[in-house]
Symmetry: C2
Subunit: 110 residues, 2 copies
Amino acid sequence: MGLTKTEMFTDQQNEISLFAKVLGHPARVAILQHLFKTNSCVCGDLVNEIGLAQPTISQHLKELKYLGLIKGNVEGTSVCYCINTHNWTAMKTVMTAFLNQDITENQDCC
Amino acid sequence: MGLTKTEMFTDQQNEISLFAKVLGHPARVAILQHLFKTNSCVCGDLVNEIGLAQPTISQHLKELKYLGLIKGNVEGTSVCYCINTHNWTAMKTVMTAFLNQDITENQDCC
DNA sequence: AACATTAATCGTAATATTGCAATAAATTAA
DNA sequence: TTAATTTATTGCAATATTACGATTAATGTT
């Protein structure tokens, strides 16, 4: 079906999976790393840096923006994209809590 | 095309995105949380707990196992699934390093 | 052996994702 | 205004993902 049954899961589980999903493509990982690394965060730079076609990069940027991880500002004919630090931190908190679940209890299960 | 061009990205970027991708479905998040929470990690329990059909759960377990995040042991007619703590820790290291990228430099970009 | 129980696999339908060419939209420059 | 530049959108093709019924495989039970 290709359709995730989100109604069967908690808000927290859906939130974690949505954040993970948007990080689940190497182009989006590369975009985020580039935005962290440099201040020259214009869309065209990302197209050159990453090597995918411009519409493809634009689409990935749209998803990252939809999840709130980046924000974009129009500057003349180009658009400057940057990390939304507030939302990134919020995402990091959610994901880190999930990753740091306690693993001591069921270590000897299998 | 639906086909990710992995050859354009670094091994690190592909690794991060693969880990994120497997966490990018609420059923797999729920499975992992349940395995962390309880020792009764038999496949049938997960089917009851989560509410998706048995083949669907089995498929999600397969993906988690393929990425190494869980391991399964046959116990009679049932199969006991558990967190692979070693690989979970390794994954956590990779993801945490990505999430903790320094955000001070480009805060004022946009 | 015959049956029951449990999980994996197969096959398939429906939806999602990825990628890009073509085009449109928005702004700037001449 | 016209042209140039840059990014977003549209439309589409190809592949991936999700879900589950039906079946198979594996083990245990009687």
